[in-house]
């Protein structure tokens, strides 16, 4: 039978999922944006080609992205403990989520920035703009629609990763679905948790797309 405790559990699960997803995405972007900019700028067709820097970042991104999230979660527990103070709980999940998300976000930023028309960059160079000015005033501005679409994708992906947080007692809707549905065959609880997850993704997707369209000045 559905009890009020279950409703409370769902509510808490939703909040935990939101907390982990949003915070990890935020930190992921704090690390991923500089990384993506560095990748785009130091690429051999970038505005400051630097083969060594590009190669190092390239390898780091590939290594982190190829490690399965579950393994990463366990592998970086010492780091988590150092930062959060303990290696279990909702807050502790944010660290591995951020580490997993940053290179992924960096790659998306890189590809968004590379879409910017080279002619516009050349025009800015011809006006005497510095590399930093071009990054801030040209690349990030012209690519903002594509970057926002990336944020939408990142939120969905990180939300998916957060389902594995249960391993370290992180909680969240994904954890509820696994515990009740997979281990205890209480499929009604699992169903509710999954539906809530679907709704969350749907909301992120709709909001993200709306914002990116609203900010795009190219077609009107």
């Amino acid at each position: 039978m559905w009890t009020s405790e279950m409703t409370l559990m769902m509510w808490e699960g939703t909040l935990e999922t939101l907390f982990m997803t949003l915070l990890s995405t935020l930190f992921g972007y704090l690390l991923g944006v500089p990384m993506g900019i560095a990748l785009a700028v130091t690429d051999k067709n970038g505005i400051r080609p630097n083969a060594a820097v590009y190669k190092i970042l390239d390898v780091i991104a590939n290594i982190v992205r190829s490690i399965p999230f579950l393994i990463l979660l366990i592998l970086i527990m010492p780091l988590t403990k150092l930062i959060v103070g303990r290696s279990y709980g909702t807050a502790a999940t944010v660290v591995p989520l951020t580490v997993a998300a940053a290179p992924f976000i960096g790659r998306m930023i890189e590809s968004s920035l590379k879409e910017v028309d080279h002619g516009v960059i050349e025009a800015a160079q011809s006006m005497g703009a510095s590399t930093m000015t071009i990054i801030v005033r040209v690349l990030l501005v012209e690519a903002r629609t594509s970057i926002l679409v990336g944020v939408t994708i990142a939120l969905g992906t990180i939300l998916g990763y957060s389902a594995m947080a249960g391993i370290v007692g992180g909680g969240g809707l994904g954890d509820i679905a696994m515990r009740y549905g997979y281990y205890r065959y209480e499929s009604d609880i699992m169903l509710v948790a999954v539906v809530l997850l679907v709704i969350l993704v749907q909301i992120f997707q709709t909001l993200g797309m709306r914002m990116s369209v609203k900010l795009d000045r190219r077609k009107r």
């Binding site: 028309d117 002619g119 516009v120 050349e122 025009a123 800015a124 160079q125 011809s126 006006m127 005497g128 703009a129 510095s130 000015t133 005033r137 040209v138 501005v141 012209e142 903002r144 629609t145 900010l215 795009d216 000045r217 190219r218 077609k219 009107r220």
Partner: protein, 356 residues
């Protein structure tokens, strides 16, 4: 006299995996203050590379570029950026910021360009308010004031180029480089942009360098021209001299190729002549060409007619003569002439503009 732009023995080689490509070889140019200097050549001749060497967007492999007596290769990165603010550039595809409106695009060089950096300033010394004021003035000059709040995607090609010109003028440059600036535009818009460039050259004394593959552009506004072929300088000098006495094969080729384009402006003039006149188009088929029809008609009616155009056209493999005549003003004679021509088996129709 040393020019505002002096290029000495400039060469540029691109190193690719397969082979070294020599884009430019031993180019020397001298461009004087106030010139409108055309650099013409076929696609792939290296002219775009050459213009990028003039503001060091491309660094030459050897040779020097001097702007106002200053060798660009001796400048630091910072000094070079300050220099570039004085050498504006416009492009074939306009290269405006698509996410910014017209006024913000024009403010860009004032707020974020190399202006003011020359004197050790950190960034453009201009406040946002002053920049907007200056941008509004520039929009006035290029005739785009009512589009200040529009985004580039809402503008036509010609309008975008006008905005790009306003942006280029924002930092009060001494030199304006135009890289195929009219190549993406239709003939009429090309004309209006060229007139605007001419006006800018005259009113502000800005030296203009125009890269193009169209002889008509050079003939229209340039005072001097350099012909680039396969990375080498074939010929340079005053446009009138080269046009009248081309010395090299390349120059002759370009002038001949340009004739077709030139006849377009001639056609415009003819179209003006046709205004208010009764004009007819007649077509000669094979069996109507034995008799000197026009000459006979003039003798018969004792009235002169004006031949605006005569041409032969291949229609389904058969050559057909086509003529456009301007008839006398008298309506009765017009009708009689038309009847006379129809009688002789010619197709006759009235026209008020060329149908090509």
């Amino acid at each position: 006299m040393a020019g505002i732009i002096e290029v000495h023995h400039l060469s540029k080689t691109f190193v690719t995996r397969d082979a070294d490509v020599e884009a430019l070889q031993d180019i020397s140019l001298s461009i004087q203050t106030g010139d409108i200097y055309g650099i013409i050549g076929m696609s792939g001749a290296g002219k775009s590379t050459l213009v990028r060497c003039l503001n060091f967007l491309e660094r030459p492999t050897s040779g020097t570029v001097e702007i106002e007596g200053k060798d660009l290769s001796t400048l630091s990165e910072k000094e070079l950026r300050a220099r570039r603010a004085e050498i504006a550039m416009i492009f074939q595809h306009f290269n405006l910021l698509m996410q910014k409106n017209v006024i913000d695009n024009i403010c860009f060089p004032l707020l974020y360009g190399g202006v003011g950096k020359k004197d050790g300033g950190k960034r453009g010394t201009m406040s946002k308010k002053d920049a907007r004021k200056r941008a509004a003035e520039l929009l006035e000059i290029v005739g785009m004031s009512e589009k200040a709040k529009a985004y580039p995607s809402q503008l036509s090609g010609g309008q975008k180029q006008r905005v790009a010109i306003a942006r280029a003028l924002a930092a009060n440059p001494k030199i304006l480089l135009c890289d195929e600036a009219t190549s993406a535009l239709d003939p009429q818009t090309t004309q209006s942009i060229l007139q605007l460039l001419k006006q800018i050259n005259r009113d502000y004394g800005i030296t203009i360098v125009i890269i193009t593959h169209e002889m008509s552009v050079v003939r229209e506004i340039c005072s001097h021209v350099a012909i680039i072929s396969e990375g080498r300088l074939a010929e340079q000098g005053r446009v009138t001299d080269i046009f009248e006495h081309p010395r090299t094969k390349e120059a002759k080729e370009l002038i001949v190729k340009g004739e077709g384009e030139g006849s377009r402006t001639l056609e415009n003039r003819q179209r003006d002549l046709m205004k208010g006149k009764c004009c007819i188009r007649i077509v000669f088929s094979v069996n109507s060409s034995f008799e000197p029809v026009i000459a006979n008609m003039v003798l018969r009616f004792g009235q002169p007619i004006n031949i605006l155009r005569a041409d032969t056209k291949n229609v389904e493999g058969i050559a057909r003569g086509e003529m456009i005549l301007s008839l006398p003003d008298d309506v009765r004679i017009q009708e009689d002439m038309k009847a006379y021509l129809v009688e002789r088996g010619l197709a006759v129709e009235e026209v008020d503009g060329y149908v090509d």
